[in-house]
């Protein structure tokens, strides 16, 4: 089974985000980055399938030169090789999906497994767009995946329960939080990963125009939270709810 997985470089979700003074982006100096946690889960799942069924896991990353770190992380987890599409800034979801289409055409994997969304912009679109462009089946928000010959049985997290779908392969699966707990790479794997191949390409090489369809015009920090206070009596509470909270 040949599986294509993604590894997006995102701002560490535990970092404190500061909006740039021009409002068009966030401060990236002294910011920590890591592989998108949902992608990490997708990589882990692909590796488990590979360990069970054999095959190959290819990690794709799109972004600046630094995005290689995250591809390398996927390789140290155990993926076989990497593809790095160099791009100055992060392309929008649609461009990413079109880039992945080209890679799928070149690699013809049995499955594309990716995080349900990147935790930086939270768009949650790539898996769906990709399946549409490829004309493949899609099973998004997977919390369990089992492979049976040419089909995949996927348990999807839906509101208030689990939906079980059978999907023909090749297909697109996006990973949800509870799919697995990603491994911590062991040292020999980290060393091996240093020597694994990462093929570099540009969107132009693939004939993809990455001009954004979605342009971020303004980012703003959420209003500062004020500390709570303890009111003296009910009358004061009612007054505060009416005048300050404006809820009654």
């Amino acid at each position: 089974m040949k599986i294509l997985v993604t590894a997006k470089r995102v701002t560490d979700p535990d970092m404190k985000i500061k909006v740039r003074s021009d409002g068009a982006g966030i401060e990236t100096s002294s910011m920590s980055f890591k592989v998108n946690p949902f992608d990490e889960i997708a990589i882990e799942e692909a590796l488990r399938i590979k360990e069970d069924k054999g095959g190959e896991v290819i990690v794709v990353g799109i972004g600046s030169d630094k995005a290689q770190t995250e591809i390398r992380y996927g390789l140290s987890m155990g993926a076989d090789r990497g593809i790095h599409i160099t791009a100055g800034s992060d392309p929008d979801s649609d461009a990413v999906a079109r880039i992945l289409v080209k890679i799928v055409e070149a690699e013809s994997p049995d499955m594309v497994l990716l995080g349900k969304q990147a935790i930086d912009v939270d768009d949650n679109q790539v898996a769906q767009l990709l399946a549409e462009y490829l004309g493949w089946g899609q099973a998004c928000f997977a919390s369990k995946v089992s492979i049976n010959d040419n089909t995949a049985r996927v348990e999807r997290e839906v509101d208030g329960g689990i939906e079980v779908v059978d999907m023909d392969l090749p297909g697109v699966i996006s990973a949800d939080l509870r799919l697995n707990e990603p491994r911590y790479p062991a040292l020999p794997a980290i060393m091996k990963a240093r020597k694994k191949e990462i093929k570099k390409m540009t969107p132009a090489d693939l004939g993809v125009d990455t001009t954004s369809k979605v342009v971020i015009t303004q980012l703003a920090e959420p209003p500062q939270r004020k500390g709570g206070r303890i009111v003296e009596d009910v009358a004061e509470l009612v007054k505060a709810l009416k005048e300050e909270a404006l809820v009654i």
């Binding site: 560490d12 535990d14 970092m15 404190k16 500061k18 002294s30 910011m31 920590s32 890591k34 707990e181 491994r183 911590y184 790479p185 062991a186 040292l187 020999p188 980290i190 060393m191």
Partner: protein
């Protein structure tokens, strides 16, 4: 004595002994290399201190049992000469060592021989009674130990019988003037009716000498099969003891891809660890104060070494064969033989993973082992294997490792808020104050933990008051890597250490103050492995120095909840010998009544957080911090003074769990000092 019989006895027993010893030592040759013969001067000094000097037995808390060992040990050194003489007399009647005999030296020796025969017999009796009747908790009541004590006792008894009957047979021997014990024996035997012309006397005399020799030589052959093998290994073991600093773990070479990044099989330990396994005499001094053992965790440092030794013994055949292949330059065959082993695995079957993770690295075991076995390093070897080779560890540690990797702090808190605590304190960064004298390296707890941020703040207050020229890195500061290293993640630790050194070099750091004994220890004792020596000062050292210079003359009466007890941090105390300095600060503060816990200083009891335990769940046995809190509370103190973030957090948690935060108060010495100034 019959020369033929004597020759036969000596030949057989010495050959058998040699065979046993070779079988014990051959396996060490397939174990990993370790240079333990550098710096001979220091090694010899150590041999005099710890082998001949028996320093680790002569401690005040040792009392009787340690003295018993010294009596037996020194006795054995002296009496062995007499045994050699006795064997020689099997061939040449009346033979003695050159220079001995009826000379001054010979007769002096006889006096001391009698003295030490008495000392051995008394020592054995004390040890026997202690083991059987008083049963100190550190010891196990093993049949083997009792057999050994009896064996030695009766071996000496036979020697005494030989000497006593000799004096009946030759009453004019000059030795009779010095051999007080032999004379006492003679008098008793003669009172009992034994005469010089009685055949029984000659028979008893022969029985004494043959008995002594047969017991001695059979004992020699028993050694390699029992804990008493330390008689053979202790001298080389102590000579080849570790000379690294106490607070230092060995540096792994992570560049060599074929190297082992930890120990998963018994033969992957260094040969010295193997020798230490043979050396362990099961005395239990290591576990007498082991926080894991005393709170019912599945770890006992003594059992750890004993179990490893048993595995080593079981694997002897394989390892001997592998060693022979290795000598014949057939490394592939050696590997093949070792791979044929189908018995127990080191990790899992012999040493449980729970035991490996239970260690707080408090260092009590190492500090008290008379044979200087390195239990903590032994455990770290296996942790390194589990983490680096197998990526197998308690799952709470995933967040720890990832937090250190991505955010350079174990809490996984935003690294760009690391310096927030000093926003309003007027603290300068190296950019703002490039001529800083000291870098105040705050550490993760001092930057992120609410309780310890107060300590950082107090220390800043004291330093500002005293006019110390310092700077803090703020958001640019990174974790020191201490805990990652003790959790076996050498790779991560080395990355962190490398980043810190690079950063500090770029801003010209020379002197560092830290309020965390873990940062302190690792920067002071481990960073030099990476080529960088900094002058590192723990904040208690700084405060005491400032106190001496009169910086805090305005200190007024300390207002606390009651008497104060200082809790020793392992990494400050046992690892860096800072026992008095923190206490000096407490004594300096007016109105402080300083109490001492029973387990203090060298035998201080760990808070339970070291070695990464802080970041793991403690599900087995009693909680270590609760145990320690109870010990401290039992002194009658109401203020617990600490000098370490881990200790403070652990004891604070224990206090809150007991719901006694109204009665007790846990303060760092810096906070106490500041409070008494601000009063």
């Amino acid at each position: 004595m019959n020369p033929f019989a004597m020759g036969l006895l000596l030949t057989i027993s010495l050959l058998a002994f040699t065979f046993s010893v070779v079988r014990r030592f051959l396996p060490l040759f397939v174990m990993q290399s370790d240079i333990r013969w550098d710096n001979p001067k220091e090694r010899i000094t150590g041999v005099f201190k710890y082998f001949f000097g028996q320093l680790r037995f002569l401690r005040p808390f040792e009392r009787i049992h340690g003295m018993a060992h010294v009596m037996i040990f020194w006795g054995a050194l002296v009496v062995t000469l007499s045994t050699i003489q006795m064997a020689g007399r099997g061939f040449v009647p009346g033979w003695h060592l050159p220079g001995f005999g009826d000379t001054g030296l010979g007769l002096t020796y006889i006096f001391f021989k009698d003295l030490f025969t008495f000392s051995i017999m008394a020592g054995c009796s004390i040890a026997f009674i202690n083991r059987v009747i008083f049963r100190p908790s550190r010891m196990i009541l093993s049949l083997e130990a009792l057999i050994i004590l009896n064996w030695i006792f009766w071996m000496m008894g036979m020697d005494l019988l030989y000497e006593s009957t000799l004096f009946i047979l030759s009453p004019n021997s000059p030795e009779t003037h010095v051999a007080f014990l032999g004379m006492l024996g003679k008098n008793i035997l003669m009172t009992a009716g034994l005469a010089a012309d009685s055949p029984i006397t000659s028979q008893l005399h022969a029985m004494g000498s043959w008995g002594h020799l047969i017991l001695g030589l059979s004992f020699l052959n028993y050694l390699p099969y029992c804990k008493q093998f330390h008689e053979v290994t202790s001298l080389p073991s102590l000579y080849m003891r570790s000379l690294k600093k106490k607070g230092e773990l060995t540096q792994q070479n992570l560049e060599d891809e074929d190297a082992l990044f930890g120990v998963g099989k018994i033969e992957e330990f260094s040969w010295k660890r193997g020798m230490d396994m043979y050396s362990c005499a099961e005395c239990g001094r290591c576990r007498a104060n082991c926080p894991a053992y005393l709170t019912d965790k599945p770890l006992s440092p003594m059992a750890l070494i004993m179990d490893e030794r048993d595995l080593l013994k079981k694997k002897t055949d394989h390892m001997c064969r592998a060693a022979l292949h290795k000598f014949k330059k057939e490394p592939e065959k050696a590997v093949e033989v070792l791979e044929q082993w189908e018995g127990d695995n080191l990790i899992g079957d012999v040493i449980s993973e729970d035991a490996i993770w239970a260690c707080t690295t408090c260092g009590h075991c190492i500090a008290n082992c008379p044979l200087m076995i390195e239990h903590v390093d032994n455990i770290i070897d296996m942790r390194r294997y589990l983490v680096q080779m197998e990526s197998r560890f308690p799952k709470e540690l995933t967040q720890f490792f990832k937090g250190c990797e991505n955010l350079s702090n174990p809490w996984s808190l935003a690294s760009n808020t690391r310096g927030d605590w000093f926003k309003d304190l007027g603290v300068q960064t190296p950019e703002e104050n490039p001529d800083f004298e000291y870098l105040f390296y705050v550490g993760c707890a001092g930057s992120f933990d609410d309780r310890y941020k107060k300590v950082s703040t107090a220390l800043v207050g004291l330093m500002q008051q005293a006019g110390v020229n310092f700077a803090c890195l703020g958001n640019d500061e990174m974790c020191c890597g201490e805990t990652a290293r003790r959790l076996g993640n050498e790779y991560l630790a080395q990355q962190m250490i490398g980043s810190n050194i690079e950063q500090w070099n770029s801003i010209g750091v020379k002197k560092i103050i830290t309020a965390c004994p873990h940062c302190f220890n690792t920067i002071k004792n481990e960073y030099p492995q990476f080529g960088k020596h900094y002058q590192v000062v723990h904040h208690t050292e700084m405060i005491r120095e400032l106190t001496r210079k009169g910086a805090f003359k305005g200190a007024k009466k300390f207002s606390g909840k009651g008497p104060v007890v200082y809790h020793d941090s392992c990494y400050l105390g046992r690892y860096n010998d800072l026992y008095d300095i923190p206490r000096d600060i407490a004594r300096f503060i007016p109105g402080v009544k300083l109490m001492e816990a029973e387990r203090k200083e060298r035998t201080g009891f760990c808070c339970g957080a070291g070695g990464g335990r802080m970041w793991m769940e403690e599900k087995i046995g009693k909680r270590i911090n609760t145990e320690r809190f109870e010990q401290l509370a039992a002194t009658g103190a109401r203020t617990i003074a600490t000098a370490c973030p881990y200790c403070m957090i652990m004891l604070d948690d224990a206090m809150k769990e007991k719901g006694v935060e109204e009665e007790f108060e846990i303060l760092d010495l810096a906070q106490m000092m500041l409070r008494s100034i601000e009063n």
